[in-house]
């Protein structure tokens, strides 16, 4: 099993150089009274300015982790620092700088969306009541709920509820946004809008930690990724690095007569797992060969040249970097959407 590691921190990822990490945990552990270990020794590191995709299947411990970050759940062991301050001791100082969406939106069903936001803002000891009405309108506007602001929350669709949850997190400028499954219940258009919003917040200098059990939905906006599985952090670091260095495959399309020769040549090049991929898309008379490219393998251009030199028909040659989902499957040996 892969060990958690301190990720290298490229200069580009540090939007605020020298500032402490937006989120830093050490040995964070939660064991419930039932004995179940929901979170096990997490060393999470979210650099300032990052869009951190916090990924993992349902039940992998993401939400419990987020609850501990925000001081809702007391860790059994370990520490949490948000924006450089210890949680939960510094909650009163730190949390006004943090906007959060935790395990779905929750509001009073018999109040309107607008009244619900007013209620949330009235609870914040650090906001100016004189600007409340304006900020509520801006937040509603930002998530496209202005027209439905006077409807009762209970009449909202799931997507509208999710938007209202985002609006509550955006009632004031934030340095850190913790968004737990923000795309739940949204249609593809709504999901695109959330991605756009996340990018916009990051462009404005905020750090965004966004969790999801649907990798593909947020993969594209993340600068950094942490992958949870069964309560442990399997992997974290800049996204490009994670997908670059593991699971790179050479994909070779050839002719039926040259399958055996092609596989032999690939194996000779030091790619022992070379195999024919029967499920690959493409015409039947152009079979596909796949071979993993480990770090010590020859570079792809040499593989291609060697195949040609060996007289193997080369219809197409491609280097495929895996999606995050494939990295995850490789790490855990199980599908991403399988709840345990």
């Amino acid at each position: 099993m892969t060990r958690t590691h301190e990720p290298p921190q490229p200069a580009a990822a540090e939007a605020v150089p020298g500032a402490p990490a937006a989120v830093a945990t050490r040995g964070l552990t939660k064991r419930f009274a039932t004995g179940q270990v929901a979170v096990d020794g997490l060393d999470l590191h979210v650099p300032r300015g990052a869009v951190f995709g916090f990924l993992g299947p349902n039940g992998s411990g993401k939400t419990t982790t987020i609850r501990m970050l925000l001081g809702l759940v007391r860790p059994t062991a370990g520490t949490v620092h948000l924006l450089g301050e210890p949680m939960p001791d510094a909650a009163a100082r730190v949390l006004p700088r943090v906007g959060a969406l935790v395990e779905g939106p929750a509001f009073h069903p018999y109040l309107s969306g607008r009244a619900n936001l007013g209620r949330v803002d009235a609870a914040d000891a650090t906001t100016d009541p004189r600007t409340r009405a304006r900020r509520v309108e801006e937040a509603l506007e930002r998530v496209g709920l202005r027209a439905a602001g006077d409807k009762r929350y209970r009449q909202y669709s799931l997507g509208m509820k999710q938007r209202l949850g985002l609006a509550a997190a955006l009632l004031r400028p934030r340095d850190l946004l913790v968004l737990d499954e923000p795309t739940n219940g949204l249609d593809p258009q709504g999901t695109r809008e959330v991605r756009h919003l996340v990018r916009e917040l990051a462009d404005g200098g905020a750090t965004v930690l966004v969790s999801s059990h649907l990798l593909a939905e947020i993969e594209q906006v993340c600068t950094h990724v942490g992958i949870m599985g069964r309560g442990r952090l399997l992997l974290q670091g800049p996204r490009a690095e994670l997908t670059a260095r593991r699971g790179v495959h050479a994909v070779v399309r050839t002719t039926p007569a040259h399958v055996e020769a092609g596989l032999a040549e690939l194996r000779r090049l030091g790619l022992p797992d070379a195999r024919a991929d029967a499920r690959a898309p493409g015409p039947a008379d152009e079979p596909t060969l796949v071979a993993g490219l480990p770090d010590d393998a020859p570079p792809p251009q040499e593989v291609a040249a060697a195949l040609v030199r060996a007289g193997v028909d080369l219809v197409a040659f491609d280097v495929r970097r895996p999606s995050l989902e494939e990295v995850f499957v490789e790490l855990t040996g199980e599908g991403f959407d399988v709840a345990r």
């Binding site: 402490p20 609850r67 809702l72 009163a92 100082r93 395990e103 609870a123």
Partner: protein, 294 residues
């Protein structure tokens, strides 16, 4: 961790932006009161309580010249002669069950209702400190209890005045005091009954911190009141009677003696204060340490 080399002025500005503002507790409390007193279910409960003196007054008014007149429990028999007694009679009838039920619903819902709706976690990450939130919840639950008692009292006073007129008050001893003094005495009854509900509010608040199921906390609170009054009827348990939640509830009658015994009233209030102290502390201990996983 690298040292934060943020410039000092920038940090000062940042600190000011995220510093608590004056009047924050008041704003949260107002928001909470609007929520509790504006909620339709709670308004229905208050209206229900307010209907008690109206219905009681109408029954007594319509039967006043029949053979049925002058029958019934204490205080009720005095209503037709003086509308002021409608307040006392209504409180007397509501005390055993209707008032505890209403107050159990509101106080049991205080924290558990927010937990069930999920809004509790959002209040806590706003952030609202847990002690402060519990304090605000307690104030709102007490305000609702006060509203419940006042709903009976005010409507009782108006209905009594309209149906039977107000006059000099005949006390339990048979002495008569002028109307103005009588109104004060009845106000004292209302205040005592209101303060007698504080222990139950604390019990409800505590149960409310134990569960995410509001109905459970409400029911448990009402059960405490009912069990307490049942135990209060068993002579074998006389030794614990003075400390029961409900034992002193009916001591409001002391207000209607020619010389109210301050000691009796003080004892009743002291028992309530003890219940508030114990269950308030338990609620605080529980709520400030509990994991919020709803």
């Amino acid at each position: 961790m690298s040292p934060a080399d943020v410039a000092a002025p920038a940090r000062a500005a940042e600190d000011a932006r995220y510093a608590p503002r004056r009047g924050a507790l008041g704003r949260l409390l107002r928001s909470e009161l609007r929520l509790v007193l504006g909620r339709r279910r709670n308004v229905v409960l208050l209206v229900g309580l307010a209907l008690v003196p109206v219905l009681l007054g109408l029954v007594l008014f319509l039967t006043r010249d029949t053979a049925l007149a002058g029958q019934g429990p204490p205080f009720v028999t005095s209503v037709t002669s003086n509308g002021l007694f409608l307040v006392v009679a209504s409180l007397f009838l509501c005390l055993p069950f209707l008032l505890p039920l209403t107050i159990g619903i509101a106080s049991g819902d205080a924290v558990a209702g927010e937990a069930a709706a999920g809004t509790l976690r959002y209040l806590l990450v706003v952030p609202v400190g847990r002690t402060r939130l519990l304090l605000v919840k307690a104030c709102a639950a007490l305000a609702f209890a006060a509203a419940a008692v006042l709903a009976i009292a005010v409507v009782g006073l108006v209905a009594g005045a309209v149906l039977f007129g107000l006059g000099d008050l005949t006390l339990l001893s048979g002495d008569t005091i002028p109307l103005s003094a009588g109104v004060l005495r009845v106000a004292g009854v209302v205040a005592y009954v209101g303060l007698s509900m504080t222990g139950l509010v604390a019990v409800g608040l505590f149960f409310s911190t134990l569960t995410e199921v509001p109905v459970g906390a409400m029911a448990a609170t009402v059960v405490v009141a009912v069990v307490s009054s049942v135990l209060g009827q068993l002579p074998q348990l006389e030794v614990i009677h003075p400390y029961l939640l409900t034992t002193h509830w009916f001591d409001f009658a002391e207000m209607l003696r020619i010389r109210p015994d301050g000691g009796v009233l003080a004892e009743g209030l002291a028992v309530q204060a003890a219940w508030v102290a114990v269950f308030g502390s338990l609620a605080w201990a529980r709520f400030t340490t509990a994991d919020v996983s709803s």
